[in-house]
């Protein structure tokens, strides 16, 4: 029985005259870890934005857990179990690392307005749980020592991990990572690979990774799709993509690093 958690079918998106995503079809089974590669401007981030409802597709369907979500608003998609990190990092710089994670975590420990202003009812219990589970997540990504530090002051590598912790705090069923290794050195990339693999296993989290760093994609993704000019031009396991590499190089020029 194939449990398709995500199903993108003939997605199209135009921005003015630019056909950013063209007849894009892609599926993910629950629990998969897959990669999406392609040069800058290929449309990879646009695909993420379409899934999360930031843009709506001109045509095509997006199904998440068998439900059509292409017309849904962002917060509706997120509350159904999707989480995403950003190419350019979108932390809340003035809040502490802990507060960043708590802001995401609170979606699972809700209480109402009356309880909020009176500190009555579920307030105490839920606030405690929000705080504790957030600290646990920070520990998991190795950021517990800097929990009370303003997110904007953290070193770049820490900020990337924080964003991942924040995404995990949403307890998603589908995790979209947008260039998580951007700006990292080889050592940090190795740590990141380990982290992504661990998270994927421990949480049984369906994960889709956009990346340029071939060291990340080739090592951890059993299945990879390649985009260029909005279209999917190849899809397969790392060996297949590598062999395709010659053809890819013709399309992608110097963009793809030699593995």
């Amino acid at each position: 029985m194939v449990d398709l958690i995500l199903s993108l079918d003939n997605l199209n998106k135009h921005f003015g005259g630019v056909h950013a995503v063209k007849d894009f079809t892609f599926q993910m089974e629950r629990g998969e870890l897959a990669g999406l590669i392609g040069p800058n401007g290929a449309g990879k981030t646009t695909v993420f934005n379409l899934i999360t409802g930031v843009y709506s597709p001109d045509s095509g369907s997006i199904k998440f857990k068998d439900e059509e979500i292409s017309a849904k608003k962002t917060y509706e998609v997120i509350s159904r179990g999707v989480a995403r990190t950003f190419q350019n990092l979108r932390l809340f710089p003035r809040s502490t690392a802990l507060e960043n994670v708590m802001t995401a975590r609170q979606q699972h420990f809700k209480y109402n307005f009356f309880e909020a202003v009176t500190h009555a009812g579920r307030w105490a219990g839920n606030e405690k749980k929000i705080r504790e589970t957030s600290l646990e997540l920070l520990e998991r990504v190795g950021l517990l020592p800097v929990a009370e530090q303003a997110a904007g002051t953290l070193p770049y590598g820490h900020q990337r991990r924080l964003e991942m912790a924040r995404a995990l705090a949403l307890q998603p069923e589908l995790l979209l990572l947008d260039e998580p290794a951007a700006g990292m050195n080889p050592e940090e990339v190795q740590d990141l690979n380990g982290l992504i693999k661990d998270i994927h296993e421990d949480f049984n989290l369906t994960t889709l990774v956009i990346e340029h760093h071939m060291e990340v994609i080739m090592e951890i993704c059993p299945r990879i799709a390649c985009m260029n000019f909005g279209e999917k031009i190849a899809e397969g396991d790392p060996d297949y993509i590598q062999k395709h590499h010659e053809i890819l190089k013709a399309y992608l020029g110097e963009e793809v690093e030699e593995c």
Binding site: Y75, R84, S95, H119, A150, A151, G152
Partner: protein
């Protein structure tokens, strides 16, 4: 005990602080810049005045009614206008604030217009003002230190990231405006009970600007900052009363100076408490906060 004059200043600071708290929630914590909140004070003030003077409504109920009506108007205005971002909403707020004032000024039969509305009982005594001040302050602190506070701040710092964390940002923005309307309404109603006399011109753009200025001056994202800002402006107003034509000049110049020298305001985003003490003694963190501000 305390002289009537000093008592009056304290009452005024308490009442204006309540309005400042409301604006602080909207501008400091939710990132929505407003230049028309005196309009909500006006609604609260006139509602309380008319109810208590013409319809013999007990003052407490009249004050609450003022707050509620202001809150409802804020909600009705908020739903369509809060999709505007940044400058656009600020400009809309000017328009709305002025419209409210103009309506009050021109609806002579109801409000007596520019001639003024006299005869409100002096129900805002020091205990009353202090009690409202403390009560509203506690409610605000509780609200900020929890899930709603975090939601507002998320909408402020990055509304796209906030929506991608599952927040219905429109909902929180409207909520913030609605609550701020309530606070300004209550403050306006209490002001009516203190001055015993109302004129629409008391709630013009100068008052709106003053509300926003004290919040910025005190520090966006700090309730204690807004209160300190209100107190400072209140005292400065009194001290410079003999040379009141210079008062406005100094006040305007202060606004400019703060923005140039220390835009994060007196308190930055700190509240009075242990974190602040730690921050003062730890240079690194303070610089970090300033950098992250950019």
């Amino acid at each position: 005990m305390i002289s009537g004059y000093i008592e009056g200043i304290i009452i005024l600071i308490c009442v204006n602080s309540i309005a400042a708290m409301g604006v602080s929630l909207l501008t400091g914590f939710t990132g929505i810049f407003t230049l028309g909140h005196a309009g909500y004070m006006a609604i609260g003030a006139y509602t309380a005045a008319i109810l208590s003077v013409r319809h013999d409504v007990p003052w407490f109920a009249a004050v609450i009614a003022g707050g509620i009506l202001a809150m409802v108007v804020a909600y009705l205005i908020g739903v369509p206008t809060l999709k505007l971002m940044g400058d656009y909403f600020a400009i809309a707020s000017i328009g709305l604030g002025e419209t409210i004032r103009l309506i009050l000024e021109n609806w002579q039969s109801f409000t007596r217009g520019a001639r003024g509305f006299p005869g409100v009982t002096n129900f805002t005594t020091l205990p009353v003002a202090a009690a409202f001040f403390l009560g509203m302050l506690i409610l605000m602190r509780f609200l900020i230190n929890g899930n709603y506070g975090r939601a507002f701040k998320a909408c402020r710092d990055d509304y796209i990231a906030a929506s991608l964390l599952g927040f219905k940002t429109a909902h929180y923005r409207v909520m913030s405006l609605t609550i701020s309307g309530f606070y300004c309404g209550i403050a306006g109603a209490l002001l009516a009970g203190f001055l015993t006399y109302l004129q629409p011109v008391m709630f013009d753009m100068n008052k709106s600007t003053e509300l926003t200025a004290v919040v910025v001056f005190g520090g966006l994202g700090s309730i204690s900052g807004s209160i300190i800002g209100t107190a400072v402006i209140g005292l400065v107003t009194e001290v410079f009363r003999p040379i009141s034509q210079y008062r406005m000049l100094i006040y305007g110049a202060t606004m400019v100076l703060i923005m140039v020298v220390r835009p994060e305001g007196i308190m930055g985003q700190y509240e009075i408490g242990p974190k602040l003490i730690r921050a003062i003694f730890s240079r690194k963190t303070e610089n970090g906060v300033n950098n992250a501000h950019g």
